[in-house]
């Protein structure tokens, strides 16, 4: 009964995985989540006092990635010039709430970035104002990361998506990919301008955070798939589709091996051989690819619930088969 193929009743347009939303939405969710995650991690570690160095890089990444991701959503629209209409209905629609959340996040992210650059030119602004902007940015960074899950959760008729675990999963994934992005950016910048002495301590801390986050993410993903497998029949079909059906290469190759297995193994090797920095680059690459495939897999495995009308047809078919067997 995996994915319903071969069954003459199940193999119809409406019980196949949805094809309405494709890779564009996955890219959008991925970039927005990753930007928000890197902003949140960077700001929090900056507050904890691990050097002001990363926050500048991170402040750049957060709003920038979100701003790069948003056009992918517009790319998916039918009439692209009407994209401003998307903010008209924040009362009930999560898509337009997300529009505002993303807008505020980008605005405050850019403001925080501008404020952190200003002292370089000798203009001093109060630390208080900077902190306020950072706090608002942080709140909306978390909101953005959670919103990417809620956007899918709000579509209630797809059992694979309709769970509070999905926002949690996307939040954890956003934080882990975000922290990996910070590590990568720090490594990249230390290759260009060699000032490794005060970023090595931070790299270690960030790597520890990132390892813990990957383990939490794996746990949440397991819980998520397990709970989806047990809710409704179409949830079960979706999970089967991911694990053993058409999307098994995306799931096992993209999500499990690239998102969890390689990062954990490569980081274990890196902790033994800290002089090989390329291992960390490889880890980062695999983790970021895994983050994308997590979104892509979940989006392309969504199957709508079966209607009572479909069930009626299926019952009739089954009783017809029984009659045939008796004859």
């Amino acid at each position: 009964m995996d994915s319903g193929q071969g069954n003459p009743i199940r193999d119809i347009k409406y019980l196949r995985p949805q094809k309405v939303w494709g890779w564009q939405i996955a890219v959008y969710l991925y970039l927005a989540g990753m930007g928000a995650g890197s902003f949140a991690i960077g700001v929090v570690w900056d507050w904890l006092g691990y050097s002001a160095y990363p926050s500048n890089a991170v402040l750049l990444f957060g709003p920038l990635l979100a701003a790069v991701g948003a056009p992918f959503l517009i790319l998916d629209l039918g009439i692209k010039r009407r994209f401003l209409n998307a903010g008209l209905n924040p009362k009930t629609s999560w898509l337009s709430r997300g529009f505002f959340i993303l807008l505020i996040f980008i605005v405050f992210g850019v403001a925080a970035l501008a404020m952190s650059i200003l002292p370089l030119w000798g203009i001093n602004i109060g630390l208080m104002l900077f902190r306020i902007v950072e706090v608002i940015g942080l709140i909306f960074a978390f909101a953005t990361a959670i919103y990417t899950g809620i956007l899918l959760k709000a579509l209630k008729y797809i059992p694979l998506w309709n769970t509070p675990l999905l926002p949690v999963l996307f939040l954890v994934s956003a934080l882990s990919t975000g922290s990996m992005l910070i590590i990568l950016s720090m490594l990249g910048s230390s290759l260009l301008l060699p000032n490794g002495e005060y970023s090595s301590q931070l790299t270690n801390i960030l790597m520890r955070t990132e390892q813990i986050l990957v383990f939490i993410e794996a746990f949440v993903l397991g819980m998520y798939l397990f709970s989806r497998y047990r809710t409704k029949e179409q949830g079960k079909t979706s999970v089967n589709l991911l694990i053993s059906g058409k999307l098994k290469f995306v799931f096992w190759g993209g999500i499990v091996v690239s998102g969890f297995f390689f990062p954990i193994v490569l980081e274990a090797i890196y902790s033994k051989l800290p002089e090989h920095t390329f291992l960390l680059f490889l880890t980062g690459f695999f983790l970021l690819v895994g983050g994308f495939f997590l979104r892509f897999g979940i989006i392309s495995a969504g199957i709508k619930e079966q209607l009572p009308l479909h069930k009626l047809i299926e019952l009739q078919y089954n009783s017809m088969n029984l009659r045939k067997k008796r004859l």
Binding site: N85, G87, S96, A154, E305, I313
Partner: protein
Amino acid sequence: MDDKMLIIDPEKCTACRKCEMVCSVLHTNASNPSRSRIVVMKWDNIGMYLPMVCQNCEKPFCTEVCPAKACQRDLKTYKVQIDKDKCIGCKTCVIACPFGHPSFDSVERVTVKCDFCNGDPQCVACCETKAIDYVDTDKAGINRRTEFALQYNLLRGYVKRK
């Protein structure tokens, strides 16, 4: 409030797909069933057909998720409608509707749905087997109920089969 709704009887449908043709010609001036607002789901191997139309839900999912306020209930006629001039084509309603009803028109690049032909549905007018009917809401289930009552009484022997 116009209390009428489209009801479907899958057992009467013969999948001639005339309704799709008429609907697409009426709404798009093109005889293209893939752009029609009514979709006949087919199980050819067992001979079962199911015409799917807008069910005009009490709490529609499509109006809840529409970000552009294009898909809304018309308070005068109490029907859910999509405003073509506001729709941005985000296809969220297509995913949200359990009946798979609003469909994405690839020519106009917006989502379209059944507008009940302003109170005179042409799919009903053209359907020869009356598989789809436009009736008052309070009489929607009456055929099924009479059928059930008849079967039940036959089963219990209250009435004799003629």
